[in-house]
Symmetry: C2
Subunit: 131 residues, 2 copies
């Protein structure tokens, strides 16, 4: 299977698939003309990576998870630890974004958004009130 078909099947851009090969996540074979040839196991790996990425895991986490997946002697504790650390990071980001959202929502609501120059948003950025 060529990279175009794999791209369509996996939903990953061909560029991304080449990149994953470059960093050693997958190692497709090559045909005589130099084209990459993907087998079932490559497709499976790409789907695995795609789903892990969609859950926000970083590339190195994906590498680790794939390694654990292939190691049938792993302990589920190792997997769970990676996932829990990632979950903590997600929670941290949500908290950070929620704080931004709260402040920004307040400012946007306070701003008339008309032709006049008076703007609580700029006023706050310039010198926020001590709350």
């Amino acid at each position: 299977m060529n990279i175009g078909d794999v791209s369509r099947q996996s939903g990953l851009p061909a560029k991304t698939i080449r990149y994953y090969e470059e960093i050693g996540l997958i190692t497709p074979q090559r045909s005589a003309n130099g084209y990459r040839v993907f087998r079932e196991q490559d497709l499976h790996k790409l789907a695995f990576i795609g789903r892990a990425r969609a859950l926000g895991f970083g590339i190195e986490d994906c590498r680790g998870l794939m390694k654990l997946y292939e190691d049938t002697d792993r302990s589920s504790a190792e997997v769970k630890q990676i996932a829990e650390e990632h979950l903590t990071e997600i929670d941290r980001k949500i908290v950070e974004l929620t704080g931004m959202r709260q402040t920004l929502t307040r400012l946007v609501h306070a701003c008339a958004g008309d032709d006049r120059p008076d703007c609580p948003i700029l006023a706050d950025l310039s010198a926020p009130p001590a709350i």
Copy 2:
């Protein structure tokens, strides 16, 4: 004022302040020995940028907001539009992260996290159930 003092006052790393000069956000003067000399207005700008960045605005948004701040003929509508677009983006990220969090929480709870290899997390990454 030298860059070290400005860094301590603003809470921004000196590296970051130099970077902000490089991309034209601030233009501190120079003393005879080549050191950057920061005036009150530079401090004010850096504080403005710092707060906008803390609300998640990108550098180009910061540039635009500063330009509007300095233009006393602006309309608050222009400011509000930038803020609202950013707010939409923040909401999008929160939704994305919340979805990840939900799936990941479910998987982490389903995983025993012990010495055995059975792991619902890897099972889901490998072939998620059609929900």
